[in-house]
Symmetry: C2
Subunit: 340 residues, 2 copies
DNA sequence: ATTGGCAGTCCGGCACGACGAGTGCCAGGC
DNA sequence: GCCTGGCACTCGTCGTGCCGGACTGCCAAT
């Protein structure tokens, strides 16, 4: 069983190792922190910690380094996050100040988060499926081609060009536009496809084919829009972190570019909109990120729906500060999106 | 003056160094290539090459390595690019097969190019300013807010939400839409802003303010749209290339993320739509990329306008193959975009 | 102009030893 | 029962010296 002081020792080991990047020994602990006991006593505690696999020695008789499990316990113990500095709060305000476009807001958010934490920042686009259709627009492009634009109440816009192979007049387009909006306007995307299914049958046979093509395109568009997307910033920070990724940051860069793995990871982390969750080291093994840690939190757009944002970095990172930054940015983003 | 054989020697030095990543010496040259002369002769040629600063020795009495100048001469000599393999041509066809959306096409293109070359691939969005306005759409979102959608003939779509603070009815919106399209429909973006300027004055005074807000938003949108954008893929290849960036690939990753530097670089490279240009090593110094080389070519969208695409990698790359890949992809992309 | 030979230079790897940091353990003190 | 000081031991690191290998540069001969 690990004693109370043992936990304190773990805490300072994590802290010092994060700061110095070097294995920390019993002697340096007693001289850098007031423990009121001797180095030998600390050594005993460290022996226990090692037994519990919370810390490990890179080689016999050298300082100790936290294991994934150690970081995990450290993070769990982390009751109150270090609040941000005034300058940082300021930065959030000015950086996200006023923006209208969703793309713009998320783009700024991800850059901000990356700057605050000096890590790779990730922001997921609001998941589409719970959003509602606000409007569907049809625009004739000439040459028998029509552009369909799908606008949701979360402010997202998806457009697509569909080839209908015949020319249609503007009045038919208006009619079709009205019909489509009547059927799916205001409905959640999840239900929209089904609702569209019987639309072609309501038109004259010679037009049904065209309607069918447009509906098929919209259906596809809805499905495609539901695929989650991710914006990312700060990849350069990965290499700046020194040799934390022990030479093979290839899988990390790959995962970032793939996005799929990261989205799955975001999905599997248990998140509500208030807390910041962490996934540490081997907990990410199935995503090829067993050297990395991911901190994430949810943020809410207008409705109750929740998307995610967070940072990715080496296990050896400043969890306290970074989790505080993630939380602050998530909250600010939520409030910003709520008032739109 | 460098002899004919001297140039040949430079060629094999570049080739062997690219392949083996090791400085190449006179002895290994004569045994790997049929020169019909002895190593000592090659050494004399190499001394000349070194005098011209086309090659350099990392340390006294070791093999030679091409300098930027050497690569440059090598590339200039490169008359005929190595044609792509059948498999590669196949890959281009299937990868870019059928796609409608511009985003989709460029996304696939950049991934393809990255795979073909094993380098970081970059594709610039078609520059907007020469594109023409195809259609402007106004969509009421309720709550006194209107979404403006700008569609160009290059297939790009930019949307933006504008807060008009009053409720307007659909008929006014139709009227405004018609007026806007009448004024700027079919005109190049460069002229559109000016053409819009006197639009508010043509409406009833109580509506002019609203028109003014919408027009201002559109003007901004046009300006924002003209900012060039870049899509990128294959950043993971940077680290895979070994230690070519001698530990400091931070500036490279940074430049990739910033985009601005790369766009400037693309802009400064002299490109027409047929040839592939190269910018090597210190030629990129002002962009923080003095360790890297960039290969780029132009591609054309419908009109005559030209955007750019290319790859970025270490100086030590296979110029012949990669330039062929860039050229092939640029050509295929041009033809694909022409037939839309 | 080309060649073979030879001396000189430098890198990389390896073994060796000194040093220092840190541990584990034990006997003794509170 | 917990803490402490001391001591032996283990390793990693760093500097040194040494050797082999791979080149080059130069020169005299062809």
């Amino acid at each position: 069983m690990v004693s109370e002081r043992g936990l304190e020792v773990l805490r300072v080991i994590v802290h010092d190792y994060v700061a110095s990047r070097e294995p920390v020994g019993s002697k340096s602990i007693v001289e850098r922190h007031q423990f009121g006991v001797s180095a030998a006593t600390i050594r005993n505690d460290m022996a226990l910690l090692e037994e519990e696999e919370l810390i490990a020695a890179p080689h016999t008789s050298s300082g100790r380094v936290p294991t994934d499990k150690g970081y995990r316990l450290f993070v769990n113990q982390l009751a109150d996050l270090r609040p941000l500095s005034a300058a940082q709060r300021q930065a959030i305000e000015t950086f996200l100040g006023d923006s209208t476009d969703l793309d713009e807001v998320l783009g700024r958010t991800v850059r901000l988060l990356s700057q605050l934490t000096n890590q790779v920042a990730l922001v997921q686009y609001p998941t589409f499926s719970r959003a509602r259709v606000r409007h569907v627009e049809l625009v004739s492009l000439g040459d028998g081609r029509v552009m369909t634009v799908l606008i949701t109440d979360s402010g997202q816009v998806e457009q697509r060009v569909v080839d209908i192979r015949t020319t249609v007049d503007e009045s038919f387009l208006s009619e079709l536009r009205a019909a489509i909006n009547a059927v799916i306007g205001g409905r959640p995307l999840g239900e929209a496809s089904a609702a569209l299914a019987d639309l072609p049958a309501r038109f004259r046979p010679d037009l049904a084919a065209v309607v069918g093509v447009v509906v098929a395109s919209l259906t596809e568009q809805i499905a495609a829009g539901r695929q989650d997307r991710l914006v990312m910033a700060g990849a350069a920070n990965l290499v700046r972190t020194g040799d934390d990724f022990s030479g093979d940051l290839y899988p990390v860069l790959e995962a970032i570019e793939e996005q799929v793995a990261l989205l799955r990871l975001f999905g599997e982390m248990q998140l509500d909109a208030v807390d910041v969750a962490a996934s540490i080291g081997r907990e990410n093994a199935s995503f090829g990120l067993s050297q990395a840690s991911v901190l994430a939190s949810g943020y809410s757009t207008q409705g109750s729906e929740v998307a995610r944002l967070g940072v990715l970095g080496p296990m050896r990172m400043d969890y306290s500060t970074n989790m505080a930054a993630v939380r602050a940015v998530a909250r600010y983003l939520s409030s910003l999106l709520a008032e739109r």
